[in-house]
């Protein structure tokens, strides 16, 4: 019984955290699924977003304005990776790693040379805070997060339906076709990377407020959590959700499920230190499954009739 009551107690926190990471995972979805690029910049840009937001709020800024600046900082991080990849010929993964590494130093500078800066909800009018996650009033972060995420999904649904958005999708789907149709695939890859990292940094700004601090290491392994959310969402909803907006929603639900499962295994007595290993193993497994499936069905198809 004790197990269930403590799990029930932990559920709202897990849900809220899952939503914040769901926003981040939407950013990962844009690069990983739409652009077909694995962008590791996000480990750095999520911390950049958190750091920018915390420092500006501490300086007395309105938290929404601070979050807008965090978003802009993420756009710049994506731009740097995009330039390294598109204009310097560096493979996308390596370009992301380089930016991520550079961002570690930059994030330390933003945080005033400290590894950690606190942002107490007592002193500042924060948008979301962990403290109220079990309250039943408007200070509870969950309703706000739900509204915000729906707004982001709607905005992205609109954007990826426009001519520009379609060009990004074509770039990710087939570069040869995109170029043959006059699409500057380099520019649109950069645009996609910017948008993705902007969203990730925005999630970082939410996360820093939610947990009441920004930490230079808060993004470590973020890409894996983002990928886990994307994959869980796909595995569970691929058969039901066919629309782009619903795909994004599936990603957010994937992140929430990820955090709830995490809570359960923690309650079951898993050592916190082993969490990252567990996450990595889960993501590796789910990335491998489609590959194995394709090998099996490919071997089966070889004997069959060819499509006309």
């Amino acid at each position: 019984m004790n197990f269930f009551t403590s799990l029930l107690n932990a559920l709202p926190g897990a849900a809220a955290q899952g939503m914040v990471w769901g926003l981040m995972a939407i950013g990962v979805y844009i690069t990983f699924r739409v652009l077909d690029v694995a962008d590791l910049t996000v480990d750095g840009s999520i911390a950049t977003g958190g750091a920018v937001c915390v420092m500006l709020v501490r300086m007395g800024w309105n938290p929404w304005a601070a979050m807008l600046c965090a978003f802009a900082a993420g756009l710049v991080a994506g731009l740097v990776t995009g330039i390294l990849h598109g204009h310097c010929g560096i493979p996308a993964i390596l370009a992301g790693i380089l930016t991520q590494l550079a961002l570690y130093s930059i994030n330390l500078r933003i945080l005033g040379g400290k590894a950690n800066q606190a942002l107490s909800v007592d002193k500042y009018p924060l948008v979301v805070s962990q403290r109220y996650v079990r309250d039943t009033n408007l200070q509870n972060p969950i309703p706000l997060l739900i509204v915000f995420i729906i707004a982001v999904i709607m905005a992205l649904y609109w954007f990826f339906g426009t001519e520009k958005g379609c060009a990004i999708r074509a770039t990710g789907a087939n570069v040869h076709m995109a170029r043959a149709q006059g699409i500057n695939t380099r520019s649109y890859t950069i645009l996609g990377l910017m948008l993705s990292n902007g969203l990730v940094a925005l999630a970082g700004a939410f996360l820093a407020q939610y947990q009441g601090s920004a930490d230079v290491g808060m993004g470590r392994g973020a890409i894996v959590i983002g990928l886990a959310a994307v994959i869980i969402g796909e595995v569970l909803f691929a058969k039901v959700f066919h629309n782009f907006a619903l795909h994004l929603l599936a990603v957010v639900i994937g992140a929430i499920i990820y955090y709830i499962v995490l809570q359960i295994v923690l309650q079951l007595g898993l050592n916190t230190n082993d969490l990252k290993m567990l996450s990595a193993a889960i993501v590796a497994l789910f990335l491998a499954i489609p590959y194995w499936q394709s090998k099996v069905s490919g071997a089966r198809r070889k004997g069959g009739a060819k499509h006309a």
Binding site: K164, R169, H176, Q181, G182
Partner: protein, 264 residues
């Protein structure tokens, strides 16, 4: 319409793998010319098309399209003037996007892409009518992902996309080579129809001598990176496969006729 002057292209220059793909190609296409291009493996046919389309850059020489020098123009800028269908049916369409979305992308080739909606209601009606004319039943599958189409359906769709905005030059790079004979014949017939309908200037690379003779008003043969034979008009009309084969063997200095070219 197209003027290719002294174009050279060498792969891996200065290494043991050095390969001269184009050894100074000169070629002029008149408005409305439909040229078929034949030649053995490594003769430079595909490289020529790639240099014209901008997929590869020429080492030297110039490419002028309708009076504009496009030699240094990047691929996506040149796309404004070109329609292209590739050998690989996977290359011409975006598999994860719908048939109508692929068409809408093609309809915006060479235009500024802004924040307007990517496809309009009027467009959908137009596309439906165009697809109906293909007679492949695609007009009822406009919201199907192109990844689910067969190779022949994809090539037909790519052909439609390549000509949706009338190109100054249509480049067909062995676009039926990956299809079974019946489907290949159908796609070729469709190509002929579209080219004739819009009076498109066209270059079609093929491995099949019979197709090269049966289509277009002009035939060129390439060998070792050069245009070695240029036949048009009445002479081309009366050409036979055996005559062409003989010329091919004489020019290439051997009788190792390419198996693929005999496929008729």
């Amino acid at each position: 319409m197209l003027e290719v002057k002294g174009v050279r292209k060498t792969f891996f220059p200065g290494t043991v793998n050095e390969k001269v793909a184009l050894a100074g190609v000169d070629l002029t296409l008149k408005d409305g010319d439909f040229v078929t291009v034949i030649g053995g493996n490594g003769a430079g046919k595909s490289t020529l098309l790639n240099v014209v389309s901008g997929t590869m850059s020429a080492d030297s020489g110039s490419i002028v399209l309708d009076g504009q020098d496009v030699t240094r123009l990047p691929e996506h800028r040149r796309a404004k003037y070109l329609g292209r269908v590739f050998q690989d049916p996977m290359m011409g369409t975006a598999p994860g996007m719908l048939i109508e979305e692929n068409l809408a992308l093609a309809a915006r080739r060479g235009t500024h892409r802004g924040l307007k909606w990517g496809i309009t209601r009027e467009e959908r009606a137009e596309y439906r009518e165009m697809l109906r004319q293909l007679e492949l039943g695609l007009e009822d599958r406009m919201t199907t992902r192109t990844g689910l189409l067969s190779g022949g359906q994809r090539q037909a769709l790519t052909l439609l996309m390549a000509t949706l905005r009338r190109p100054k030059l249509l480049l067909l790079d062995e676009h039926t080579a990956a299809l079974d004979p019946r489907t290949a014949a159908k796609v070729l017939e469709l190509s002929d129809k579209i080219v004739a309908e819009h009076k498109l200037t066209t270059m079609m690379v093929t491995h099949n001598m019979k197709d090269a003779i049966a289509h277009g008003n002009r035939l060129i043969m390439m060998s070792n990176g050069r245009v070695v034979l240029d036949i048009s008009g009445e002479e081309k009309k009366h050409l036979t496969v055996s005559q062409l084969l003989e010329m091919f063997n004489k020019i290439s200095g051997s009788d190792e006729a390419n198996d693929k070219m005999l496929l008729a």
